[in-house]
């Protein structure tokens, strides 16, 4: 490695090779990119991303890539980002092992999309949340945007063959306390298109939703594409949803989800999910929640120029041998006990203005706007 001026040049000059990164800090301002099969990065090095507008690592259209035994973080002042930490697209046979990913505030610290056979194991992901605008204005049934805490530790989106085991995802910064809510003005509805079934008039009038804590420790998304997943042995603490499953043929076992709004969630077309031997503690809203979501639907064949639609039903699941304790004694009980959805001081929306251009309370442009969970 030392014979190249930068890490990226070393990777480019040696496609498909194995790189040992010695124990030092590497500062980067562009994402490390690999699109060659068989590339492997390992070693004790620490990679520091200094550019908030770039991911830390990007892997594209590659097979058999391994990232191991490395630390990744963002530099001071560049930690609030709308970019993921590690992002993989259209890959096959990926492994992230023994990594530390810290201070990637919001979006996902590790995310794989449209890929096959992805393994994330023995990683530690800390401080993955950030302030965000959860923009649901493009979703007809919602039609509003609000300020939130969002971010996900590990996310799989449209991935067939997932193994997420023995990781820890922890958030230590943005706790869902009343003080944090007030400091960041969380839950304020910043824009409304029109009231809808899931955005009742009373809530819109109050300009507030208490649903401002978003994201997950582990998220399996894209329910018609993500399947055959093992999520086991993970410790997840201080998150909105511990494990959020929108996928089929999933094993969620022997995880500890602690201090979450929801412990385990299976929705939006999650089928044949096996939840066994988990510990769920200090959870304030639901320990385990199973239900169809707006994305759940039956199949349809192509007709009149409309494409065929895969079936995406929920059910066929087993919940066994889980321990659920200290329900309602976490940090978010205050936000859900005795509540009305719109139970907050009335605040005025910024009428007719794009939420994305709204300045933050500190007068700085917000960096962290991305479409929320429902709009993606």
């Amino acid at each position: 490695m030392t014979s190249y001026p930068t890490l990226q040049e070393a990777i480019d000059a040696n496609p498909g090779r194995i790189f040992r990164l010695p124990s030092r800090d590497y500062e980067i301002s562009r994402a490390l990119v690999t699109n060659r099969d068989n590339t492997e990065l390992y070693g004790p090095a620490r990679i520091v991303q200094t550019n908030a507008k770039e991911p830390i690592v990007r892997i594209e259209k590659a097979a058999n890539v391994r990232i191991m035994n490395l630390s990744f973080t963002r530099s001071e002042g560049n930690q609030d980002t709308n970019q993921p930490g590690h992002v993989a697209r259209q890959c096959r046979d990926l492994e992230f092992s023994n990594l530390r990913v810290s201070e990637n505030h919001s979006n996902s610290s590790i995310v794989a999309m449209s890929s096959r056979d992805v393994r994330v194991q023995n990683c530690i992901v800390t401080n993955y949340k950030g302030e965000a605008l959860d923009d649901r204005t493009q979703t007809e049934r919602l039609g509003y945007a609000f300020t939130s805490v969002d971010g996900t530790g590990i996310q799989m989106r449209d991935v067939d063959g997932v193994s997420i085991r023995n990781n820890r995802t922890s958030e230590y910064r943005l706790m869902p306390t009343k003080e944090v809510r007030d400091r960041y003005d969380l839950g304020t509805i910043t824009m409304v298109t029109k009231p809808s079934r899931n955005a009742p008039k009373e809530m819109i009038d109050a300009r507030y939703t208490n649903n401002w804590h978003q994201g997950s420790g582990i998220h399996l998304a894209s329910p018609t594409g993500t399947r055959r997943a093992i999520v086991t042995g993970n410790v997840i603490e201080y998150c909105n949803q511990g494990v959020d499953v929108h996928a089929d043929n999933v094993i969620v076992s022997r995880n500890i989800a602690s201090h979450c709004l929801i412990g385990l969630n299976a929705v939006h077309g999650a089928k044949n999910v096996l939840m066994t031997d988990n510990q769920i503690t200090y959870v304030d809203l639901w320990g385990i929640l199973l239900r169809p979501g707006p994305a759940s639907h039956g199949s349809a064949n192509a007709v009149d120029g409309k494409p065929a639609v895969d079936e995406n039903n929920d059910g066929g699941s087993i919940i066994a041998n889980n321990i659920i304790s200290n329900i309602g004694f976490g940090q978010q009980a205050w936000n859900w006990a005795d509540r009305l959805l719109w139970d907050a001081p009335r605040r005025q929306p910024v009428a007719g203005k794009s939420a994305a251009t709204r300045p933050s309370r500190r007068g700085q442009p917000r960096l962290r706007f991305w479409r929320g969970h429902y709009a993606r």
Partner: protein, 464 residues
């Protein structure tokens, strides 16, 4: 005063011990690149840790490890160019570790009658984070006559090949046929087995009609004059068996010896049998088996198997099959050679919290549908009679908390169309009632079973 002295004394002792251990230190790993070959590095450093740099090593004889405490680790890729040799042989050694390495065979030398990594007569062996690919037939990782062997975090890809399944030496069969065969991980006569968190996939030989026809699979190559006891007359008459997809993702056999087995967190795709276990005191939990002929099978004297929390998906013949096999027998004080023989019976199992989905919608359904077999095929959970009358019956099986899910009800994609499809299994649960030796004491509680095309179960209501 006394306490503070004690604390100081203890602190001094700890410091002294620390200094001692630091001074002694562990020897640095040996750098394999300092030797003319990998084998030379191993031979010159018995019992040492050997680090293999980021290099591709081409070998033409198996790496042989015969000394205790040898460890090979590192990011190297080892390419076996000789199909008549294994990749590694660990023989009569203790406490050997292989970790982080990649093994494969070179193009043109991948069809082999040899194993990939072979562990013989050894103990306390660990294979971790290793990748083994393109070892076509036999087993990619094989252990025999050993104790305490762990295989974890490994990836095994493309382990099958075309072979002849030669059963001519068996008086029960007496014939041979063309087959796809090969196993990802195979243990024979091993006490103390941990196989966890591995991924085992086959992408080459899928059991399609085109593959069957292309390789003439199932055709008998030897037809005996007198068929064996298990030689189906139809097979003899047609000179063809449809049982041409053989092997397993994971097989643990040698039921008289193999015991204390954990199979956990593995992902197995496109196997003939996801797991085939002939052993005692076995935990099978948290595995996903997708696209297989049989999801899990235990027979030939498998006792006290705990099958919990597994997913079986796109399995076509049986999801879980438990039965006595030809090798099952009771104990005898005058067994073979007149010596006492230990019992080898089946049963004492728990089948709990497993999910079965898309049964019959895999790639081998075509090979088993529309058969008029008297054998109870295509049942999701099957507890069957013995292969031969002398087998002791399987007994004491608890079936609880399982889910057999009729995926066809939600529609499935068939011939490019989403359609509701009838179930492709006879029963969610089949327990033999008539043919002997029939199962004894099968308890069924708290399951959620969608009915097959003959019903939920063949067990009469008054026996449930």
């Amino acid at each position: 005063m006394f306490l503070s002295r004690l604390v100081r004394a203890l602190g001094a002792a700890v410091l002294a011990a620390t200094a001692f251990s630091l001074a002694q230190g562990q020897p640095k790993p040996v750098d394999a690149s300092a030797y003319p070959s990998l084998q030379a590095a191993i031979d010159a450093n018995p019992g040492r840790q050997i680090q293999l740099p980021t290099t591709e090593y081409v070998i033409n004889t198996a790496l042989r490890i015969t000394r205790d405490n040898t460890e090979l680790f590192g990011p190297a890729r080892i390419v076996q160019s000789n199909p008549r040799e294994p990749m590694v042989r660990i023989d009569h050694a203790k406490s050997v570790r292989l970790s982080g390495l990649t093994f494969t065979r070179s193009a043109g030398n991948q069809d082999t009658d040899q194993n990939g990594i072979e562990i013989l007569d050894s103990s306390d062996v660990e294979i971790s984070q290793v990748r083994v690919s393109e070892n076509h037939t036999r087993a990619s990782i094989y252990a025999r006559s050993s104790a305490d062997v762990t295989v974890q975090g490994c990836v095994i890809v493309n382990y099958k090949g075309i072979t002849v399944d030669d059963r001519t030496a068996s008086p029960l069969y007496g014939y041979a046929f063309k087959a796809i065969d090969g196993s990802g991980i195979q243990f024979r006569d091993v006490d103390g087995v941990v196989i966890r968190d591995n991924r085992i996939q086959e992408f080459r030989f899928l059991p399609t009609r085109a593959i069957r026809d292309h390789y003439d699979l199932g055709t008998l190559t030897v037809v005996p004059e007198v068929p064996g006891q298990l030689g189906d007359p139809d097979i003899m008459a047609n000179k063809y068996t449809n049982n041409w997809h053989q092997g397993a993702g994971i097989q643990v056999t040698g039921p008289m010896v193999s015991k204390r087995v954990i199979l956990s967190g593995n992902y197995i795709e496109n196997a003939a049998q996801g797991m085939d276990v002939h052993a005692d005191n076995v935990i099978v939990s948290g595995n996903i088996i997708s696209h297989a002929m049989i999801g899990y099978k235990s027979m030939h004297g498998a006792k006290n198997v705990l099958l919990d929390g597994n997913q079986f998906n796109y399995v076509d013949l049986w999801g879980i099959l438990l039965m006595p096999g030809a090798a099952s027998h009771v104990s005898s004080n005058a067994g073979t050679d007149g010596k006492p023989e230990v019992e080898n019976t089946d049963g004492g199992h728990i089948v709990s919290n497993n999910i079965f989905s898309n049964f019959g919608f895999g790639e081998q359904h075509w090979n088993w549908a529309d058969r008029k077999s008297a054998y109870p095929e295509r049942n999701v959970i099957a507890i069957l009679f013995g292969q031969v009358p002398e087998n002791p019956p399987i007994r004491n099986v608890l079936i609880t908390g399982n889910q057999v899910y009729d995926s066809g009800r939600d529609t499935v994609l068939l011939d490019g169309k989403w359609v509701q499809a009838e179930p492709r299994y006879h029963y969610a649960l089949y327990v033999e009632q008539v043919r002997q030796p029939a199962p004894v004491n099968v308890q069924v509680h708290g399951n959620l079973f969608d009915a097959g095309f003959e019903g939920v179960t063949n067990i009469p209501a008054d026996k449930l």
